[in-house]
Symmetry: C2
Subunit: 213 residues, 2 copies
DNA sequence: GTTTACATGTAATCCGTTACATGATTGA
DNA sequence: TCAATCATGTAACGGATTACATGTAAAC
């Protein structure tokens, strides 16, 4: 239980497997056919990563020998894997995550559905918003240096970053509002169900999510 | 001259060194203090990459032994380096570059100032725009799958990607318009200078650009 | 005079890419 | 039956991260 740091890909795998047990090829299909495509769907990335997670006890592999074909490993989350995933989902968005790309902030948000409470998710979006706002301030600071003639391309490139961050900032506010709204409207038609379940859905919902996210 | 494929970092180094000769620490400063920060400023990335580029003949290192301190290597572009950089700058934006992050599309645009003609730059922005538009179409296709209850987080995450791509698309149009406008207005006050030079500026402009981009 | 920041690297580790390998299933 | 696709991996290579090493200049 050396608690070594995991890569973004490995957390993505934990999250996917946590929705429903999956084989390596299932993961490949998700990465190849959904907006999660910025993860490589190459087997050379997926299979070793799954094996690594199994070796450190975060995933557990069940050998499926039905069909008497080549046995396939079906991976599912262990208790330690649940803990590692939940701990990661509770991390705030950092400046480094924003700058270095990799998509960790939105990945955490995607996987948080059903694993975090609505309050925790809103708190997470708050950290997201703050991080983007702070980074935007940095970018605005650069504009003074690039205005004026002689640096048109620097000026224009900077504005691409600024526009992107502005759009990201607006999204965090919009997403928070949508989540609050969804909590309100779905409580009315079915007041007997718990708030968590309203958003979370059942296992079949997980299946859909893993295919369409 | 085996023409091995270069990484985005290596092209960024070619571009920076092409603006003005630099040492490894100069590069570190650029990555640490400008919006180019999504490249790692760690010496373990920069120094080996510079050395690699020198070994394959794209950079040339001049040993500066003034000050009699530890000698520092000042890198500059070779003719082969210029060719490799220019060839890369002429590549259109691809779907893979957009999806896998890495910032190659905007990096090429940033480095294109002064190296490509205005017509070539506009053509490049055209490929950028087409690639983003095509990717946006893909993303819109996913919205149908995520609408409806039970997949709120997938739906919201998808919209983050859509908003980001829409913002990027608008930027390509705006940048093209700005470049056309700049070409027009700067020709009037100084009709004697060439069009290229109007945008490009001199060496001191390169220095500014490398610090502020 | 000692610490802090500047400056230039090297070494180990490790993840991801690319290419290869192989067997089962399906369609022509 | 032959090709193509599905499905499950392995192996080699290489680049990036992290940590370490070291020496100089400035600040206090």
């Amino acid at each position: 239980m050396a608690e070594r740091k995991l890569t973004t890909l490995e957390y993505a795998l934990l999250g996917l497997v946590g929705m429903s047990p999956l084989t390596g090829y299932d993961v490949h299909k998700v990465f190849a056919t959904t907006p999660l495509a910025h993860f490589s769907s190459s087997p050379g990335a997926i299979y070793p990563a799954l094996r690594r997670l199994a070796q450190i006890g975060l995933l557990e592999a069940r050998l499926d020998t039905s069909k008497e074909a080549r046995p396939r490993r079906v991976f599912s989350l262990t208790a330690a894997g649940e803990r590692a995933l939940d701990a990661w989902l509770h991390q705030p968005v950092t400046r480094e995550e924003l700058i270095r790309g990799g998509g960790a902030p939105v990945l955490r948000f995607s996987l948080a559905g059903g694993r975090l409470s609505r309050e925790e998710i809103l708190a997470y979006l708050e950290t997201y918003q703050k991080a983007v706002a702070a980074y935007l301030k940095e970018l605005y600071g650069y504009t003074e240096l690039t205005t004026g003639p002689g640096n048109l391309h620097g000026h224009l490139s900077l504005h691409l970053g600024i526009r992107g961050s502005e759009s990201e900032l607006e999204w965090t506010r919009w997403a928070a509002a949508e989540i609050k709204r969804a909590g309100r409207v779905s409580r009315k038609p079915s007041p007997s169900r718990s708030k968590r379940k309203d958003i979370q859905g059942g296992p079949e919902c997980h299946k859909i999510r893993s295919e369409t996210l």
